[in-house]
């Protein structure tokens, strides 16, 4: 590698001598070159004598004409090209350069450019509008094929009060009637058979309560704030018996408010539900002197929202023995499941007719 580099340097020196007019032999003597470099210098010397090819005179003349034309028309090539449709070359610049200003051709070119720009912008806008429109209509078409309960045109839906927006709304209507129904369970120590004081609600199956000894005052405990006003109207449920012990959760029969022996402020509901106390309810405490502790509260007005609510979505068969569960449901109401049943049916019925 090093010797190659040195040979290259020697060769460069020999070439420099050749360029100064020395012959290869003289250069080899001057530089004391070996036999490797001399043939290379001979090739370089031969290259100096290689023929120089020349362009033909005709081609050169034609090229000269073209270049002269180009030089003359270089000032305004656009005007020269557009204003000279005939093949005879005419000087494009007939006026002084200072007086050019807005040439008509340039003005026309500007007009064309602006027109093209406007068309381009309009095209872009149209395409973007088309894209937006196609994207916007696509989900609507999908909804139209599968109607859901969100259809606001359903009369059932409109009858339902807005349970989501009202801050004072209490989902108590879900359990309308149940808390207000005064139920008295009397457990006889001998028979241990619970008897409900509300015999009018015989149609509603009553869950037998475990007999307890002694009078037990049960009070529906407010599991949440929605039930609290309703339970206030509950009369005390007393269990007769000297030694009543809470062994099992009570089943409370709930009847329609019309059947209540004492009038309440709750408006009569067309439907009645039976709500059984949940297992989480506190067991009735045995007291020897059972007293209706909530008697004065019977007159407490039930929240108006309760009475106004028609509670159309309450399933009577859904005798949820888990009261808290219902309370939870109403506490965090999910309005969508409830109205989904009715609108879907009402929507499909006309389709079936069609």
């Amino acid at each position: 590698m090093t010797s190659e580099k040195r040979l290259e340097e020697v060769f460069q020196s020999g070439v420099a001598l050749l360029e100064k007019g020395a012959s290869p032999a003289a250069a080899s003597q001057t530089l004391m070159l070996n036999g490797t470099i001399v043939p290379l210098l001979n090739i370089v010397e031969s290259a100096y004598d290689l023929p120089r090819y020349q362009m033909s005179a005709a081609s050169k003349a034609a090229l000269l004409g073209r270049l002269t034309n180009q030089t003359q028309n270089k000032v305004m090539p656009l005007a020269a090209l557009a204003a000279n449709p005939n093949p005879n070359p005419i000087p494009a610049r007939t006026t002084p350069r200072t007086n050019l200003g807005w040439h008509p051709q340039l003005r026309w070119n500007w007009f064309l450019r602006i027109q093209q720009a406007v068309v381009a912008v309009a095209l872009v806008l149209a395409i973007s509008l088309l894209i937006i429109t196609s994207r916007g209509t696509a989900p609507d078409q999908g909804q139209a094929t599968t109607p859901t309960a969100t259809a606001v045109s359903s009369p059932v839906m409109t009858a339902t009060p807005d349970v989501t927006t009202g801050p004072q709304f209490t989902p108590a209507p879900v359990i309308t009637g149940a808390p207000t129904a005064p139920a008295t369970v009397t457990a006889m120590p001998e028979t241990a058979t619970p008897t409900s004081a509300l015999t009018t609600a015989a149609a509603i199956p009553a869950v037998p309560a475990t007999p307890t000894l002694g009078a037990v005052t049960t009070q529906a405990q407010a599991t949440d704030r929605t039930v609290a006003p309703a339970t206030a109207t509950l009369p005390a449920r007393t269990v007769a018996g000297p030694a009543a012990q809470p062994t099992a959760p009570r089943a409370v029969q709930a009847t329609s408010p019309a059947a209540t022996p004492k009038p309440t402020t709750v408006k009569p509901e067309p439907t009645s539900t039976s709500v059984a106390p949940t297992a989480t309810q506190p067991a009735p405490t045995a007291t020897k002197t059972p007293e209706p502790t909530d008697e004065p509260e019977e007159d407490k007005p039930v929240p108006t929202t309760v009475s106004r609510n028609p509670s159309p979505t309450i399933d009577d068969s859904d005798d949820s023995d888990d009261y808290k569960k219902d309370g939870d449901k109403t506490k965090t109401p999910s309005p969508t499941p409830l109205p989904t049943k009715t609108p879907t049916i009402k929507y499909e019925t006309p389709k079936a007719k069609d």
């Binding site: 290259e8 290379l40 090739i43 031969s46 090819y53 000269l64 270049l67 002269t68 270089k74």
Partner: protein, 214 residues
């Protein structure tokens, strides 16, 4: 015709002097054609290269500044770039054999008689040696060929060649050395082949004379 220096020529071209165009053509047309022909061995392409190069010069002369690049190097750089584009295109699309002929049977890659070397009348041996050397140059790589032609045929110095080809002087030195070494190798191989042919011809000579006698 005027004899102008490059700086004066550029000034007059920038002013739009049409007479300067003639001077430019006179000073550089043959040199550019010679360079292009040695590079591509095609006189049609060489003429196109010259024409495009001058058109480009006239087009861009107003943006040219003497301080950056010498005018001669700038002219050869334009020609080199044009040639590189053409050669790249040709290598991808078609290739012409050195022995290709047209409909009239004329070789396409040889210049016509009036385009030939100006210094005619040399001895046949010299012409043969030159032809061998020209073919050997054609066999060089494009970089080595460009450096060799610009350096030893067109007579540009190292800096001008480096500027024209946009390479460093060191790489130009290396390229020219390797080009000459390759030329020597090619020429030696050609001589060996020629010697083998000659010896073979001498060996076959008795048989041919015997055949003639029969």
């Amino acid at each position: 015709m005027l004899n102008l220096s490059d700086a004066e020529l550029v000034k007059r071209l920038q002013k739009g002097d049409t007479e300067a165009v003639g001077v430019l053509l006179e000073q550089y047309a043959n040199r550019l054609y010679n360079y292009a022909f040695y590079r591509c061995s095609d006189h049609y392409l060489a003429e196109d290269i010259v024409s495009e190069t001058f058109a480009r010069i006239v087009e861009k002369i107003n943006s040219y500044e003497q301080r950056e690049v010498p005018f001669k190097a700038w002219v050869f750089r334009i020609a080199h770039n044009r040639l590189a584009n053409h050669l790249r295109y040709r290598s991808r699309h078609y290739s012409v054999s050195l022995d290709a002929v047209n409909e009239d049977g004329e070789r396409l890659l040889d210049p016509p008689d009036d385009w030939g070397a100006a210094d005619g009348g040399l001895m046949a041996s010299h012409i043969a040696e030159r032809e061998e050397l020209r073919h050997a140059i054609m066999a060089l790589s494009e970089d080595q060929k460009a450096v060799f032609v610009l350096r030893f045929i067109e007579g540009l110095d190292l800096e001008e060649v480096a500027t024209s080809l946009e390479k460093s002087i060191a790489s130009i030195k290396s390229l020219q050395y390797r080009a000459v070494v390759n030329l020597r190798r090619t020429l030696e191989q050609a001589k060996e082949i020629e010697a083998a042919k000659t010896s073979l011809g001498k060996k076959l000579m008795p048989f041919s004379s015997r055949g003639k006698g029969l």
